[in-house]
Symmetry: C2
Subunit: 159 residues, 2 copies
């Protein structure tokens, strides 16, 4: 694979190759991450061909606030704050990152880039639609939570 924007941005991490050999572990994450809960192992295997896995040592910055971004990260092993997957907004709209994410301990992360997502949609539209449907669902629920909190703050300010 040629060097991509994602690889350049993640040069401080160790690239372990594509995610196919991690498909089983990614499938095992389903209990704690809602993103792939409707995917069976065969679909995760297929998807893994389009993702890369990196090792991040403690303290390494995986996502920097304010950076432009075009990939999302799935945490396979280790600790980075409280999100199991993050970066979805930037992967989609390419805007600046909303928050920084630093490895709290040695981490294993799987990365899905916008370029790979575009390839999935082109080469396997049904699988691509499934990934997008899950992303829409997740963003939608998160927007609902955030909007509810915002409305509560605005109401409190008014009263």
């Amino acid at each position: 694979m040629a060097e991509t924007a994602e690889q350049a941005r993640l040069a401080q991490l160790e690239l372990l190759g594509d995610a196919t050999e991690f498909a089983g572990r990614i499938h095992g994450l389903i209990t704690c991450s809602p993103l792939f809960e409707n995917f069976n192992l065969a679909e995760i295997r297929e998807l893994s061909r389009f993702m890369r896995v990196y090792r991040a040592e403690p303290g390494a910055e995986i996502i920097g606030e304010g950076q432009s971004g075009d990939f999302m990260v799935l945490l396979i092993e280790g600790m980075i704050g409280t999100w199991k997957s993050f970066g979805e907004m930037s992967m989609i709209d390419g805007e600046q990152r909303f928050a920084s994410c630093i490895a709290a301990e040695s981490c294993l992360v799987a990365v899905l880039s916008r370029e790979s997502l575009a390839r999935i949609i082109l080469e396997q539209p049904t699988l691509g639609a499934k990934v997008l449907m899950e992303l829409v669902l997740m963003l939608s629920q998160r927007l609902r939570q955030t909007s509810t909190k915002l409305v509560a703050f605005m109401d409190r300010e008014r009263s």
Copy 2:
């Protein structure tokens, strides 16, 4: 077409049939609504087969806050607050509506239900993936705006 949940919910509006004959007008909305800006007229035509058009008289409730929802609405003509399209969150996650939407004047709306979106994905996965990609983009940008506002409120409260 059989009576659907969408039709039952919108019984107070006049059903004008599927949206195919409105494809040109929907395509014309592109300048003011970002949802379909990457669709050409042929794609909008294809999509229109899966949407229904309703006429809402002034004062008619199109979306009721707190109702469960499984469709989204595209405003073709008339006025309903400030959103050009709304209901995306409920269409996707089926949860309660976040806000009420009342026709401020006689309105023409095109409706896309979750059931129709599922059919598009099944029958035309490439078109389905394109619709989903636009939804993800829109939700992502809206989540970013809402999160930015929420963070500003929280910062102000802390200081």
